[in-house]
């Protein structure tokens, strides 16, 4: 006869010391997902400056004096924005790598190496983020 266990609410974060790798992967995936959907709405809001910019004169566009170009260039000139972009990259890379891991698990691939593949996702996220810093910071100073 099967036996069931009442584990309580899964997201009872006061139990964080008991969490295993799979639980941390689930929490990080959820956290990065919230950040990414929040960013998507912000991203479209900022890019929407292209709508009024489309009405600018050709001379203004050529000179980069339209509201879209000015908005993006001003934002990219801020070191804080560049650092947030590095953070966004880290969040996106982890979500993608861990998401790949989840897709493989759903397909039955690597079921016995779920902990290892989570740790590999973390390490690879760190490596890709650190390697990308020079590109993301270029021109900010």
């Amino acid at each position: 006869m099967s036996q069931s266990y009442n584990r309580g609410l899964i997201e009872d974060f006061s139990r964080w010391r008991e969490f295993e790798a799979g639980m941390w992967a689930w929490i990080f995936h959820k956290f990065t997902g919230w950040v990414l959907i929040g960013y998507l709405f912000t991203h479209i809001a900022v890019l929407s400056t292209a709508i009024p910019a489309a009405g600018a004169s050709e001379a203004a566009m050529m000179a980069g004096n339209d509201v879209y170009t000015q908005t993006i260039v001003s934002l990219e000139g801020l070191l804080l924005v560049r650092l947030l972009e590095v953070g966004l990259l880290a969040v996106a890379v982890f979500h993608m790598l861990n998401g790949t891991r989840l897709l493989l698990v759903d397909l039955g691939v690597g079921l016995d190496a779920q902990d290892k593949s989570f740790y590999a996702s973390l390490l690879l996220t760190g490596a890709i983020t650190v390697a990308s810093v020079p590109t993301f910071i270029a021109g900010a100073f």
Partner: protein
């Protein structure tokens, strides 16, 4: 082996769509980051450069599909996370339709923006 946690009920249509969009987004998001941060750089952005890319039907179509899939994947993910957190009854219905409305607004504004760059729907 660690236990597997998921916010989704396995086997449903939305479950499958979440995974199909995930596979698509893996490729297109990597392409998006690579093109707009490594090939072109963030401080070189201009309306004319964005416009030049978006006037190509292939790029325009890819970006609109990117927007649609990212919106679905993100909003469906949020909805499932909230349901998993214990959201039920009227609150669940209200949240569901609020998320649907937010998605429609995002898609509408995103496509307006793409059309502003492309000068309308690109035909070639």
């Amino acid at each position: 082996m660690a236990e597997r946690y998921s916010s989704f009920q396995s086997g449903g249509r939305m479950w499958l769509l979440q995974r199909v969009t995930a596979a698509f987004l893996l490729v297109v998001l990597a392409f998006h980051f690579f093109l707009l941060h490594f090939v072109h750089h963030a401080d070189e952005v201009s309306f004319l450069a964005s416009s030049g890319r978006m006037e190509q039907l292939s790029y325009y179509s890819l970006m609109v599909l990117f927007l649609v899939t990212a919106t679905f994947h993100g909003v469906n993910g949020v909805y499932n996370a909230l349901v998993n957190q214990g959201l039920t009854g009227t609150k669940r219905t209200v949240i569901k339709w609020t998320l649907v409305a937010a998605s429609v607004v995002l898609l509408f504004q995103g496509i307006r923006t793409a059309n502003a760059w492309a000068g309308g729907f690109p035909l070639l």
